[in-house]
Amino acid sequence: MKGLGALATALIAVLLLRSTALANLAAQGIVIDVLAFATVAWALRRGAGWGATFGFALGLFADLDTAHWLGRHALILSLLGYVVGRLSGTLVQESPRTQFVLLVVATAAHLTWTAAFELGGFHAWQVMAMRVLTGSVATAFLGALVLSIIRRLGGRTILGHADLQSGKTI
C-alpha cells in the first residue's frame, strides 16, 4: 500500500512537472524528458517489476494528454523500466557516470520512439536526430545532477539496490 502511495505521488509530481515548468522549457526548444528520467530513477530504486509498472502507468497518463496513439509512451516506458530494473542489480547505481549513461540511452530510446510517431517516419531524420541528441544529453546531465544533489543533501543512498553487492540479483 505504501508502495502504491509513493507510486501515485511520483506519477502526479512528474506529470505536473511535465505540463508546467518543463512545457515552458520545451516551448523554448529545451527538451527535458522527465518521463524517461523518472522511469529510470524509479526502476533503479525499486527493481524491474516496479520499474515496468511505473513506466506503464506514467506512459498511459502521458498518452492521455496527446491526441493520438494511446499506448505509445506506455509501451516504451514499461520496457525501459523493466530493462533498467533488471540492470540495477548488476550496476554501481550511485555512480554519476552510470546514471548518466543509463539516462542517455533510456532518453534516446524514448525520444526516438515518440519522435518517429510525431514526424510520421524517418524522412525528417535530421530534425529528429538533433532533437534526440540534445534531449538525451540535457536530460542525462540534469538527471545525474539532480540525483547527485539529492544524495548529497540526504546524506545517504537514495537508490536502494546500491547497498547490494555488484552482480547479485534479488
Binding site: G49, G71, R72, S78, G81, R86, T169, I170
Partner: protein
C-alpha cells in the same frame, strides 16, 4: 526461461509482458476507444493539482511583481524627495524675484452624463451644477490633461465646451522652450487640434508637450493640452501651423475633474 529465472524476476517478466501486450493493443485499437471521455476523467482527476500549481504560479508572479513595485516605490520616493527640494527652492526663488507662486488647484470629481458631437465630441453634459459650487468658465480636466471649460450652467447639471469645439481657444506654451501660442480646434482642411499664432522665427519640434501658459485668466498654468505631432508653415508665411495630439481622449470620457475658477471670471478668455 521460466525455470531458469528466480521467482521475483519471473514475476516481473510476466508483468512486463502483460504491459507490452496491453500497450500494443492500445496502439492498435486505441483510436476506437472513447478518448475524449478518458481525457475528461484525467482532467477531472488532475484539476485540484492543476489548481494548486496555478495558485503557486500566481504567488510566484505576485512575489516578483511585489519586488519590482518595491524597487519602483523606492525610486519614486527618492525622486519625490528631489522634486520637493526643487519645489521649495523654486518657491524661494520666485519669492525673491517677486513672481506669483503656484497653487495646487482644488479638484471636484464630476461624472460625464453624455457627449455630443460627431465624429469627435464637442460638448459634454456634467452631473453637477451651480448647487455643487460650479461656475461658468470653470476648467474641466482629467488626469491626462485639459478637457475644456463649463459653458452653460444649471442648478444640478452643467455643459462643458470641449477643446474639440472650434469656439474654444486656450493660451498655451510649448514646454521647456516657452514658445507661446493659442490652441484651437479647426475643421478645415481636416479636423485637428492646432497651436496657432506661433511666429515663424520660433522653434517648435515634434514630440514637445504643450501646456496652458496661464496667460488667460481661467486656465491655470501647467495643465497638459497636447503633444506636437506635425509642424508646418501657414500659407501667409508669417506663422507656423502646429498640429497637436490632444492629451485627453475626448471619446473615452467617463469622469472628469472641475477646477473652480475665481468668482467673476465668467466669459474671460
Amino acid at each position: 526461461m521460466g525455470g531458469v529465472l528466480p521467482p521475483a524476476e519471473r514475476r516481473s517478466s510476466a508483468l512486463v509482458a502483460v504491459y507490452v501486450i496491453l500497450s500494443l493493443l492500445l496502439l492498435m485499437v486505441g483510436e476506437r476507444l472513447p478518448q475524449a471521455s478518458l481525457r475528461g476523467i484525467g482532467a477531472f482527476m488532475f484539476a485540484p493539482f492543476d489548481r494548486v500549481v496555478m495558485v503557486m504560479d500566481r504567488v510566484g508572479a505576485a512575489w516578483v511583481e511585489n519586488q519590482e513595485l518595491h524597487e519602483r516605490l523606492t525610486a519614486l520616493s527618492l525622486e519625490n524627495a528631489v522634486l520637493r527640494r526643487s519645489g521649495e527652492e523654486n518657491r524661494e526663488l520666485r519669492e525673491e524675484l517677486g513672481l506669483p507662486g503656484y497653487r495646487n488647484p482644488t479638484l471636484r470629481p464630476v461624472e460625464i452624463l453624455s457627449l455630443t458631437g460627431e465624429p469627435t465630441p464637442a460638448a459634454a453634459t456634467l452631473s453637477a451644477g451651480s448647487k455643487a459650487g460650479l461656475h461658468l468658465g470653470d476648467v474641466v480636466v482629467t488626469s491626462a490633461g485639459l478637457v475644456g471649460r463649463i459653458s452653460e450652467l444649471y442648478a444640478t447639471q452643467s455643459r462643458a465646451a470641449l477643446l474639440s469645439d472650434p469656439s474654444v481657444s486656450v493660451a498655451c506654451e510649448v514646454e521647456s522652450t516657452g514658445v507661446l501660442g493659442v490652441v484651437r480646434f479647426t475643421l478645415s482642411p481636416r479636423p485637428a487640434l492646432m497651436l496657432t499664432s506661433v511666429p515663424y522665427a520660433d522653434t517648435v519640434r515634434v514630440g514637445q508637450r504643450v501646456l496652458t501658459s496661464g496667460m488667460s485668466r481661467r486656465y491655470p498654468r501647467g495643465i497638459a493640452v497636447g503633444r506636437v505631432v506635425k509642424v508646418g508653415q501657414d500659407p501667409d508665411g508669417l506663422t507656423q501651423s502646429v498640429v497637436l495630439e490632444p492629451a485627453a481622449r475626448f471619446t473615452r470620457l467617463r469622469h472628469v475633474f472641475v477646477i473652480p475658477g475665481p468668482a467673476g471670471a465668467e466669459g474671460q478668455p
